[in-house]
């Protein structure tokens, strides 16, 4: 089966000539292995026994009451995945691919550090060297994940360019790949980048949507009325949406980073950007009139990205998915509500999806049960969220 290179007009391979050969090689490898029984069985065993899949579907009854969602509020518990987020689904799939392509070295970019930790973990598991690029600002706000990556044997390489966040880390990872392309596989962490990455990442994350569709049917006897997920680059969102794209009655909602609110800085590429090229693909992008890429802002490092995956741009244009946003403030309060009413500390990224569910509860519940991709847990965020919410460890 051939791999999707474009989603409508979006996607493509806008990268230096040097890596085109490697993209061809990756495309061929994925076409060959995506249906290969040995590859699938090795990945399946790891997802089952190492990651902990299938992840449970959980009904959040107290939040459901507090927010007035009588039809049911369900969480797809990707936060229970080994390493704490959905990122491991992709990292394992790609590291097994890298092994089969004979690559000796793994690189990755990371924002919140969840993809970095997942890649460091997968690399340790198969014994490949790993370097993770991370913006210096993100290294400070996601300190715990920096320590985890180093404990796992990965080298964390600080990036000072630009605003020291995910965009800059991704650029630097691509430059490393351009230089070491013969020996190195670049594991992109979101559904972004040049083709075939957006398709590979979406495919590897689609397990979220496939599982949760079956689980909803089993638990409730029906499909959800709406599915809500946060969108930075958009890998957890595309993963869960892919389970429901053909179910026309299921509303799909992506929640971007609203940052400081309407008049301030934000990360809402689909709402306020226009199409352009960043990191190898054509997609919605925050940029100035000259095409200079704007610096995004979000309280959550994982959503602090001026671009978005090309499939989301297409789904936006054709109206299949509605993209909205939630501010830093709304996300922080939802973070606290979820922690205190469900005993689940969500990742700050995930808290954006929860904030939207809370703030749009009256319209969402009209469609039926609400399914949220609880994409990650918030252990990594305790320093930053604690500081923002005035919670500390003082005696």
């Amino acid at each position: 089966m051939s791999v999707n290179m474009r989603f409508g007009p979006y996607g493509g391979r806008y990268v230096p000539e040097t890596v085109i050969g490697a993209l061809d090689e990756l495309t061929e490898a994925y076409e060959r292995y995506r249906d290969d029984p040995d590859y699938l069985s090795e990945l399946g065993v790891l997802l089952g026994h190492y990651v902990g899949r299938p992840t449970p579907l959980y009904r959040a009854r107290r939040l459901e009451q507090a927010w007035g969602i009588d039809e049911g509020l369900w969480f797809k518990r990707e936060d229970l995945c080994h390493t704490g987020a959905h990122k491991i689904n992709n990292a394992l799939g790609q590291v097994l691919l890298a092994q089969r392509m004979g690559k000796q070295r793994i690189i990755a970019e990371t924002g919140a550090g969840q993809h970095g930790v997942a890649t460091a973990t997968a690399s340790a598991l198969v014994g490949l060297g790993c370097r993770v690029y991370m913006g210096r600002t993100d290294m400070q706000r996601q300190r715990l994940n920096v320590i985890r990556m180093r404990m796992l044997g990965a080298e964390v390489h600080p990036v000072d360019a630009g605003s020291g966040t995910l965009k800059d880390a991704t650029s630097e990872a691509i430059r490393d790949w351009v230089t070491n392309v013969d020996t190195t596989h670049y594991i992109i962490g979101s559904a972004v980048g040049p083709a075939p990455y957006p398709e590979i990442v979406a495919d590897l994350q689609s397990v979220i949507g496939i599982e949760s569709r079956a689980q909803m049917l089993e638990e409730t006897g029906r499909l959800p009325g709406s599915v809500v997920a946060c969108v930075g680059g958009g890998s957890n969102a595309i993963g869960i949406f892919r389970g429901f794209l053909d179910d026309a009655d299921v509303a799909l909602v992506g929640v971007e980073a609203g940052g400081e609110g309407p008049s301030g800085r934000h990360g809402a590429s689909l709402a306020q950007g226009r199409p352009g090229v960043l990191h190898g693909s054509y997609s919605y992008l925050l940029q100035d009139p000259d095409g200079q890429v704007a610096e995004a802002h979000s309280v959550s490092a994982g959503l602090d990205y001026p671009g978005v995956g090309p499939e989301h741009s297409h789904l936006r244009d054709i109206g299949r998915v509605t993209y909205v946003n939630a501010t830093d403030e709304a996300a922080l309060s939802a973070f606290l509500e979820c922690s205190r009413m469900e005993g689940l500390i969500p990742a700050l990224e995930t808290a954006h999806a929860l904030a939207h569910v809370r703030d749009a509860a009256s319209s969402l519940r009209a469609a039926g049960p609400v399914l949220v991709c609880l994409s990650g847990r918030g252990d990594k965020d305790v320093d930053q969220a604690g500081a923002a919410l005035g919670i500390d460890a003082s005696a």
Partner: protein, 264 residues
């Protein structure tokens, strides 16, 4: 009908009868006036000027050009400012602008290329626009009379070299190293074989760049290829100069040195 950019570039190669010197100037670094001066100084020594339009996320560039581009953006440089520098170089060697794809499509490829042509630009290099994505832009460029200069790399296989060669105009920019700008090339059998392979598949002149730092290296490349690009080294010398006058002198000295090496 004025002579097309491709024809002007090809004529320069034909008339020179020796390898060409293609120095790079980052428009707006360290500021617009200085970069205009540097371009004019280099124009005395150069056969073609490569003029960079800064972009916020230059994926093919190493730290030196990244920092220069960021400095240019920080001081408010816009694409139109850089095109004005090209306008001022009309009496000199042809100008080829180098920028990234998003800069070109932000205002629309036809508009951008039309504006460039109106300022006398002969060609454009877009390092993140590989040959298979370039069809529309190539048409817009032909329409505007600007040559779309393709890049080839050490990792480009023979079939792709031929594909690049088929649509090539002006010249092809052959990347000497597997990597970003600002490293250091070494003249070895591998590079000789690469240039040889490129020349077999590509009917237009082949210019080599990435990691060329010294007049000696330029001379060695000149023995194999039709021209040589030097970029990061020039920026480094500008950055190392204690003041603007010293920077001008450094650019002049270096340009003269490379030009001499290629003429000897």
């Amino acid at each position: 009908m004025p002579e097309s950019g491709a024809a002007r570039l090809e004529r320069v190669f034909r008339d020179a009868g020796r390898p060409l010197f293609v120095p790079y100037v980052m428009g707006g670094y360290p500021d617009i006036d200085a970069s205009r001066r540097h371009a004019q100084i280099l124009a005395k020594h150069a056969d073609i000027i490569e003029l960079g339009i800064p972009f916020s996320d230059p994926l093919a560039d190493g730290p030196t050009i990244q920092a220069a581009g960021q400095a240019a953006l920080d001081s408010g440089t816009r694409p139109s400012d850089v095109l004005d520098i090209a306008d001022d170089l009309r009496d000199g060697p042809p100008v080829v602008v180098m920028t990234y794809f998003n800069t070109v499509i932000a205002q629309g490829a036809s508009e951008f290329l039309g504006a460039a042509a109106a300022k006398g630009v002969a060609g454009i290099i877009i390092p993140d626009l590989p040959v298979d994505e370039a069809t529309e832009v190539r048409e817009a460029a032909r329409e505007a009379g600007v040559a779309l200069i393709a890049l080839a790399a050490p990792t480009t296989d023979d079939a792709r070299m031929a594909e690049i060669g088929e649509s090539a105009e002006g010249f092809v920019y052959l990347v000497a190293v597997t990597g970003v700008t600002g490293g250091e090339m070494t003249m070895d059998d591998r590079l000789r074989a690469l240039v040889d392979r490129a020349r077999r598949h590509i009917p237009v002149p082949v210019v080599v760049g990435f990691g060329v730092r010294t007049p000696d290296q330029a001379e060695q490349i000149g023995e194999l290829a039709d021209g040589v690009v030097i970029a990061s080294e020039i920026i480094r010398r500008i950055g190392d100069a204690p003041d603007a006058r010293a920077a001008d002198a450094a650019v002049d000295d270096f340009g003269a040195g490379v030009a001499d090496a290629l003429r000897s």
